[in-house]
Symmetry: C2
Subunit: 169 residues, 2 copies
């Protein structure tokens, strides 16, 4: 089997896709490179592209403080996590569903090689091959559902911290 | 057109489904009733059922404080929102993707009539009709993506509140 197809079959987003479906996916992937320190996406920008890391490491950061001119911490970023090519990590996958503002910024830590997939290309292939569209969206739904659960847990933790502080104040 | 089919075509989850696809969906829906004050789902329980409200009003509540035996506020619930049949509101839709712990509790405020759809029935129909599966999952993905954005915004607001309190402490 083609080495690239084997790599894609490893990715959670492409779970349960037969090799010939992966082949169709390959047709809409484009190989792109980023240099160390290059910004790949900026939080708040509109995006229509998903990325799969083939080689290199990126850093995901998110501003955690509301924008406020009077607040010197305005725009403070928190680095959430690093992703690399070893796990064929995927990011920006919500953009396959609709064009949205990015919810985090991503910066290349090292030189990176990635595949990119555009929303319009994905939706076109999915309209032509509903099985492919169905399987990818089922995988995407499960990835996003896990993320939603983590966001819910964060809300509970933050509310708990606020409640403790209000009692001690 | 059948009145029930017209009602289902109004629902965001079934957007862009042709009437004959809605007909297939009808086959896996079961009409259920709940009495006023009855608990429909409990946060933390494992669930495999999605609900569509046809008539009546429900209340969605979520505990916002981490469980802690020493904390008298342990398990405190916050009522988030009310949903009713006028908008054919849908809840528990994440259960179509996988069996998960419910992230909120739902209580009937009035007597309610609903359709329920089970995960296994949905996945069976979707495996037989990939177009139907694809269109429903695309709609579900967009619903969940909107919810994930709101959860992210809540995290930012809570972090901001914590930061302000830490500065004033």
């Amino acid at each position: 089997m083609d080495k690239d197809i084997a790599a894609l079959m490893d990715i959670a987003l492409f779970k349960n896709l037969a090799p010939e479906k992966i082949q169709s996916v390959m047709h809409i992937l484009r190989k792109v490179t980023f240099s160390a320190n290059e910004i790949i996406m900026r939080e708040g920008d509109i995006g229509d592209t998903m990325y799969i890391i083939l080689d290199g490491t990126v850093e995901i950061a998110k501003s955690l403080i509301l924008d406020d001119a009077d607040n010197e911490e305005s725009g403070k970023n928190k680095v959430f996590t690093r992703l690399d090519g070893k796990q064929h990590a995927v990011f920006g996958e919500m953009a396959l569903l609709e064009e949205l503002r990015r919810t985090a910024s991503v910066r290349a830590v090292t030189d990176c090689v990635m595949y990119e997939m555009k929303k319009d290309d994905f939706l076109k292939v999915a309209e032509e091959d509903h099985e492919l569209g169905y399987r990818i969206l089922l995988n995407l739904g499960r990835i996003v559902s896990a993320r939603l659960r983590r966001a819910d847990e964060d809300t509970v933790k933050l509310t708990t911290a606020l409640s403790i502080m209000l009692h001690e104040a």
